[in-house]
């Protein structure tokens, strides 16, 4: 499923990313690698706040819906 569908408090593993190569690389640099566990710690109309490798990262909803998790 897409990361955007996760609820606040939920933790899941990253599977893949559908989108541009350079965005994918940037996400990887920020810790969004396959198998990494991400937790949703906040949500609002702009998008979601995630916890990745102990760092808070804000993503817009469109991007979050292109990151697949299991």
């Amino acid at each position: 499923m897409a990361l955007a569908m996760m609820e606040v408090g939920e933790t899941r593993e990253i599977k893949e990313f559908h989108g541009k190569e350079e965005v994918k690389r940037h996400l990887q640099d920020l810790g969004f690698v396959k198998g990494e566990r991400v937790q949703v710690i906040g949500e609002n109309p702009s998008g979601m706040i995630l916890l990745v490798k102990g760092v808070r990262i804000a993503l817009n909803r469109g991007l979050a819906s292109r990151i697949m998790v299991v």
Binding site: E21, E22, V23, K24, R25, H26, L27, Q28, D29, L30, G31, V33, K34, G35, E36, Q39, I41, G42, E43, N44, P45, S46, G47, I49, L51, V52, K53, G54, V55, R56, I57, A58, L59, N60, G62, L63
Partner: protein, 730 residues
């Protein structure tokens, strides 16, 4: 022997704080990713032979945005003698990802473990010795904020630089990947490439920048190597990233003891629950913005009936300047008329017209820097993302635009952190629409002179709203007709909330005052003299005609016959449809391009004629005798002797503003025209310094020209609408 030591690390890990510690300089520090957008050099306080280079933050050596390229290129191409890799101890895993890449380049490196105060407060323990053993480079724990550990850090860095200690190769990748890297490296070595190890990895990672630097042939052969090992279409990039992170996980397990397992809710998380709340976030933002302007520019601060800190300070500065002007006037009183005119009417009057506004801008700056330092800025950008998206931008554009309220130059530079080219171009244009500190005096002058009987605060606020509305419309239009590539992403790290240090706030304030003093002493000062000269002289000043004709032998001429009038009269017709087609306002627009402060400086000089008896008589002729009596004339009869006082107390300065220039009314006759003039100056081309910054960001003069053209056309069309439509109502 002199060494250059570069500071590298993730955004917001404390590089600039450390740089300021080491060099004693005062660079901007802020608590959001993207504060430093350019490299900055300084010398080490304790050893002038050592140069320190502050770099923009970067998450990896494969850059994503423009300022990251600067950091990467510096490390890889210019090759400092050593790099201090600053690692934020509170997010060590993510930070070490860049560390591995820096070590791969083979540059002599020292690792600084920063934010150790916060690490300790969390109860985490980081084994610096263990890390040093693993990575084979010195690791020094520091607290950049209070200078703890930086002497040891520098000692190690100098040692490493002297010894040219190239870090050892780490067992980051598995056998298969390392084998592939070695094969690629061999190809590069054979082709005579330098930095083959690092380039091999980057090529396998598909880094376009590096791919562009080697020959097609070489690229193809590296591709073949990858294909042989992994099959075609394999995602080596993901494999590289993945294995780096796996290696880091092992390192962290060995060297770091977490105080708690799992994620515990921190203060920052709690604050975020409120400040980025789906319902509360926007109202809170609105209140914060309101407070920002209330503190700066309100005569009824928080409805308490007192002046805001900004206005209060402005009053003090103005009285000091007034006192100084009197003093100077006394000193040059005996000198020849033109010297007096230059010093008192030109320089003192001109600079005085803008000096009073420094405190306003200063207060605004300090408040903005407070927002930056506490960590709220990144949150606002996120919260506004949804709204900005509707206008075709990302929430990140908010940061440059807010900075535009202070000054357009840093605002334009801040567009560098925007990831999409479209956003950068549009935001650069929009930044020019913002009511920067130098435009404030224009509004104040106009409001106090031409909107005497209106709600002045409302008129000023309406201009702020105006700039935002115009920015939105222009962004929508540009998105629709010019830049059609879709919406950009929003990815931003949200730093911890931190209480700003007094030092950092004072630095912001001090830099602003210093910057203004320099500008006032150079550009504006020269402009002032130029305006004085052009408006006081003409060709007859130099052939003796003026001297022969005037009573006191002065070579100066009537303003209406001056050079300035001749120039102004040529361009004035352009502005006729906007309601201010006279030479003086036209000249004001032009001098404003040198520096926006000049608009007011120009007006202060050009409209500085005393209120004459004829003017007064004409002015009061419009009133009936009852009205005259109400104004203070005895028996409702016009009295030339009392007129002067009544005019200044009863008519003009009801708002109590001694800076008003009554003669402006002769040229700008209606409120619609006055508003159009303010709007035109608000939106048209910013000052040359800002245009220079635009050129740096947009790269070519062609693009810069296009951007300026958009600003000019917008200004003209909107001001025209204001004058025409406003004329029907006002």
């Amino acid at each position: 022997m002199s060494y250059t030591i570069a500071l590298a690390g993730n955004p917001n890990c404390g590089k600039t704080t450390l740089f300021n510690d080491l060099t004693g300089s005062r660079q901007r520090v802020g608590n959001w990713p993207g504060v430093t957008v350019d490299k900055k050099e300084g010398t080490y306080k304790k050893d002038k032979g050592i140069n320190i280079m502050d770099l923009p933050g970067t998450y990896s050596l494969s850059p994503y945005s423009a300022e990251e390229i600067i950091a990467r290129d510096y490390i890889v191409k210019e090759k400092p003698d050593a790099v201090i890799d600053i690692v934020d101890g509170t997010s060590i895993e993510r930070n070490l990802y860049l560390t591995l890449q820096i070590l791969e380049t083979g540059v002599p490196t020292v690792i600084a473990l920063n934010m150790m105060d916060e690490v300790e407060a969390r109860g985490d323990k980081i084994g610096a010795e263990k890390l040093s053993e693993i990575f084979g480079v010195p690791v020094v724990p520091i607290v950049a904020r209070n200078g703890k550990g930086i002497l040891e850090l520098m000692a190690e860095a100098v040692e490493v630089a002297k010894g040219k200690k190239t870090p050892k190769k780490l067992p980051v990748f598995d056998e298969k990947l390392q084998g592939t890297i070695d094969d690629a490296k061999k190809l590069l070595d054979d082709a005579g490439e330098t930095d083959s190890q690092w380039k091999a990895i980057k090529l396998l990672e598909n880094d376009e920048n590096i791919a562009g630097q080697v020959t097609e042939e070489l690229k193809k052969r590296v591709g073949e190597v990858a294909e042989k090992a992994y099959g075609s279409g394999a995602d080596l990039e993901a494999a590289v990233a993945d294995q780096r992170y796996q290696y880091i996980a092992k390192v962290v397990k060995d060297a770091v003891k977490k105080g708690t397992t799992g994620h515990v809710e921190t203060k920052s998380d709690k604050l975020d629950k409120i400040l980025t709340n789906r319902i509360l976030a926007l109202p809170i933002f609105a209140v914060v913005m309101y407070l920002l302007f209330a503190c700066t520019n309100s005569e009824n601060f928080l409805f308490l009936g007192i002046n805001s800190p900004g206005i209060w300070l402005a009053g003090i500065v103005e009285s000091i300047w007034g006192w100084l002007t009197d003093l100077v006037a006394g000193l040059v009183g005996g000198a020849s008329p033109w010297v007096y005119s230059l010093v008192v009417d030109g320089i003192m009057e001109g600079l005085g017209a803008i000096l009073g506004f420094i405190p306003l801008v200063l207060v605004l700056y300090i408040l903005i820097s407070f927002l930056e330092d506490c960590g709220y800025m990144a949150r606002i950008a996120f919260v506004l993302d949804r709204i900005f998206r509707r206008f075709g931008l990302s929430g990140r554009s908010f940061i440059p635009l807010l900075q535009g309220f202070g000054c357009s130059v840093p605002a334009v530079m801040a567009t560098r952190t925007l990831e999409s080219e479209k956003d950068r171009k549009i935001t650069t244009i929009l930044a020019g629409f913002m009511p920067c500190g130098a435009k404030l005096p224009i509004f104040a002058l106009f409001v106090s002179t031409l909107f005497v009987d209106s709600n002045q605060t409302l008129v000023t606020y309406s201009l702020y709203i105006f700039s935002i509305v115009v920015a939105i419309i222009v962004s929508l239009l540009l998105n629709k007709f010019v830049y059609k590539d879709g919406a950009s992403n929003f990815i931003m790290e949200l730093p911890q909330y931190r209480i700003p240090t007094l030092k950092s706030i004072l630095i912001h304030g001090w830099e602003k005052v210093k910057g203004f003093a320099v500008k006032a002493g150079t550009v504006i000062f020269v402009s002032t003299i130029l305006i004085w000269f052009l408006s006081g002289f003409n060709f007859d000043s130099f052939n003796g005609t003026n001297a022969a004709e005037s009573e006191d032998g002065s070579v100066m001429c009537e303003m209406n016959d001056s050079f300035m009038a001749s120039i102004g009269n040529v361009i004035a017709p352009i502005f006729k449809p906007l309601g201010f087609g006279e030479w003086r306002p036209a000249v004001g627009v032009v001098t404003g391009w040198i520096a926006k402060e000049n608009v007011v400086v120009t007006f202060a000089q050009l409209y500085d004629e005393d209120v004459t008896d004829e003017y007064l008589e004409e002015y009061f002729a419009q009133y009936s005798s009852e009205e005259l009596e109400e104004l203070g004339f005895e028996d409702g009869e016009y009295d030339a002797e009392a007129a002067g006082d009544i005019y200044s107390e009863g008519v003009l300065f009801e708002g109590g503003d001694e800076n008003a220039l009554p003669h402006m009314k002769d040229d700008i006759k209606t409120k619609a025209a006055a508003y159009a003039y303010m709007v035109f100056n608000l939106l048209c081309m910013p000052c040359f310094a800002a245009v220079g910054a635009m050129k740096r960001e947009l790269k070519t003069w062609k693009e810069t020209g296009k951007a300026v053209a958009v600003q000019m056309v917008t200004a003209y069309v909107v001001a025209l609408l204001v004058n025409v439509v406003g004329g029907l109502f006002l």
